[in-house]
Every structure is written in structure tokens, then in C-alpha cells.
């Protein structure tokens, strides 16, 4: 009798824990994507929290140092999107450099709140007109 009660209690606890965990996982799983992956599957990532990796497009960086507002284009060579970020550009932030930024896409504009510079130097900025190895880029930013 007692055993059955314990077993039932155990199952109930496990079920509740499993439910909570799966719910928490669903809401806090953050995918790591590149601009071209967003372009391919816009609906799936729109408005969802993602980590967006890519390179800072040359000539696109604008920093308003009075309002501390940073905008730039992020690119993986196939697609590029404007990024908005409130805050100063971090140390080592530079054109053609690799960045990973956490935030959300809204209508093809990425609003980020956590900007990391990935100075993994294995990936070199692309030369204009030449194809980009997207897989290598992604791997180098991870």
C-alpha cells in the first residue's frame, strides 16, 4: 500500500518536474544562427531570442556617443541585416571583425542587447566578390 503511494508520489513529482523543465527549455533555448539562416527561415526566428553571428560590414558602423547607440550591418557574405544595439562598442570591435550578438529580429532589423566580439582570427574578412565559406565562419564564431 505504502509502496503504491510512494510510487504515485514519485511519478507525480517527476511529471511536474518534467513539465516545468520542458517548458523552461522551450522558452530559454537560444539558437545560434547566421544572417543567411535567418533569411532562409524568417518565420521560425522572427521575434525569437537568438544569438546572431557574423561579420561587421565595412563602412556600416555608426556610433552615436551622446546616446550610446550603435548601429551596423551584420553579414555572412550571403545576407546582411541592420543591427541596433544600445551601448558602446566593446573593446576590439572593428569592421570586418567577427561578432556574436544576442537579441531578436523584428521586421528584418536585429535589436541586440548583448554584443560579444569574437576575435577568433582563423576566419579572415572576405575579399569583395569572393565566395564565403559559411560553415567555417559559423564554426569560427561558436
Amino acid at each position: 500500500m505504502k509502496k503504491i503511494v510512494y510510487a504515485l508520489l514519485g511519478v507525480a513529482v517527476l511529471a511536474v518536474a518534467g513539465f516545468l523543465i520542458s517548458k523552461a527549455l522551450q522558452s530559454s533555448l537560444v539558437y545560434f544562427i547566421l544572417p543567411s539562416e535567418y533569411a532562409r527561415d524568417t518565420a521560425a526566428f522572427e521575434g525569437k531570442r537568438v544569438r546572431l553571428g557574423g561579420l561587421v560590414q565595412a563602412g556600416s558602423v555608426q556610433f552615436d556617443d551622446a546616446k550610446l547607440h550603435l548601429t551596423f550591418q551584420i553579414t555572412d557574405g550571403l545576407k546582411d541585416y541592420p543591427v541596433q544595439y544600445d551601448g558602446a562598442p566593446p573593446d576590439l570591435f572593428q569592421e570586418n571583425g567577427g561578432v556574436v550578438i544576442e537579441g531578436r529580429f523584428h521586421d528584418n532589423v536585429f535589436v541586440g542587447d548583448n554584443l560579444l566580439v569574437k576575435h577568433s582570427s582563423d576566419y579572415h574578412p572576405p575579399v569583395a566578390g569572393e565566395p564565403i565559406d559559411v560553415e567555417a565562419l559559423k564554426e569560427s564564431l561558436r
Partner: protein, 186 residues
């Protein structure tokens, strides 16, 4: 019953092991096998001050542009870098073997601001015959997208980077890469 329990544990442990083995084998961004995207691209130019002992042969500044057209071996090192001490004799030997065949070796001391005395001592210890320059601001290292020191780049006669080696070079690496440079250039 007892065996059954042990079997279940063995299966679970094996599954965990498989997951972690996947994690280990999946490779790492830091992996040394990742090739540089410089490869196939023109070698980034630089002109840096040479150490005094090379002035009679090369002048006070070494400009890469002056030496394009020859196969080049460009080695980045620092006085505090342990593996650089391992590879320095290898490079000196290679220079003695391949220098007469028209291969130009260059050593670039980088990430080593104002360490001129240490640089001189390094060069003197291994009696390095090939020219060595000081990249005091480490900016050339940035142009060449260094991951760390030592790194060695192989540039062919057309001025394109054909290979990069991360970590200390071995006689085998030199033989393979410089051999390829010479065959390609001939």
C-alpha cells in the same frame, strides 16, 4: 536480476560516454586544423625595422614587397613563447638548406613590445642567419590574423599564401611545405 541491473548501468554509462565522445570528436573552434582564410590570398604587405646584425645584407628595413617573386617562409615568434625556442633551430637549419635554393625566410617578432634586448638574445642564441624584424605594435600580426605564436606562413613565388602552420614547425613540415613551394615555383 543482479546482472540485469549491471547491464542497465553499463548501457547508461556507454550512452553518456558516446555523447561526450561526440563532443570531443566534433572538433573545436580552437582546432589547429582549421585553415586560415588567408590561404590563396595575396600576402599582406609589411615593412618593419630589422635587427642590427642584418643591416649589411638587407638594410635597416625589411619590406615584404621587395622580396615577392621568391618563395617565402614567414615565421612569427615572441621572446616569451616557449615553442618558439623549440622551432628556432629547425628554422635555422631549414634556412641553411633552402636559402641557397632561393627561398627567403623572415622572422617576425610580434606581441613583444619593446623587448629588443630579449629579441637580440633570442637571435644570438640560435645564431639565426635569416633576417628578423620587430613588429613592435603587433599590427602586422593582426593583418596576418595570428591566432598566437608561433605561426608560420608559406608564400609562393606569385605572392600568394599557400599554407599556414600553427605551433612549432618540424623538419617534416618544412620539407613538405618548402618542397611544394620549390616544385610549384620551378
Amino acid at each position: 536480476m543482479k546482472l540485469g541491473r549491471i547491464a542497465v548501468i553499463a548501457v547508461v554509462v556507454a550512452a553518456i560516454g558516446a555523447l561526450f565522445a561526440f563532443g570531443l570528436l566534433r572538433g573545436n573552434p580552437d582546432d589547429r586544423n582549421i585553415t586560415s582564410n588567408l590561404i590563396g590570398k595575396p600576402a599582406p604587405a609589411f615593412a618593419l625595422p630589422l635587427y642590427e646584425r642584418y643591416w649589411t645584407d638587407y638594410g635597416e628595413t625589411f619590406a615584404l614587397d621587395d622580396h615577392l617573386g621568391k618563395p617565402l617562409v614567414i615565421n612569427f615568434w615572441a621572446s616569451w613563447c616557449l615553442p618558439c625556442y623549440d622551432e628556432a633551430p629547425v628554422l635555422q637549419q631549414a634556412w641553411q638548406a633552402y636559402g641557397p635554393q632561393g627561398v627567403q625566410f623572415v622572422g617576425v617578432q610580434t606581441q613583444d613590445r619593446d623587448k629588443r634586448d630579449e629579441g637580440r638574445a633570442f637571435i644570438a642564441r640560435f645564431n639565426l642567419g635569416f633576417p628578423n624584424v620587430l613588429d613592435n605594435d603587433s599590427l602586422v600580426g593582426v593583418d596576418w590574423a595570428l591566432y598566437g605564436v608561433p605561426e608560420t606562413f608559406f608564400v609562393d613565388a606569385s605572392g600568394k599564401v599557400v599554407a599556414k602552420h600553427i605551433g612549432p614547425v618540424t623538419p617534416e613540415v618544412i620539407e613538405q611545405q618548402v618542397g611544394a613551394l620549390l616544385r610549384g615555383g620551378a
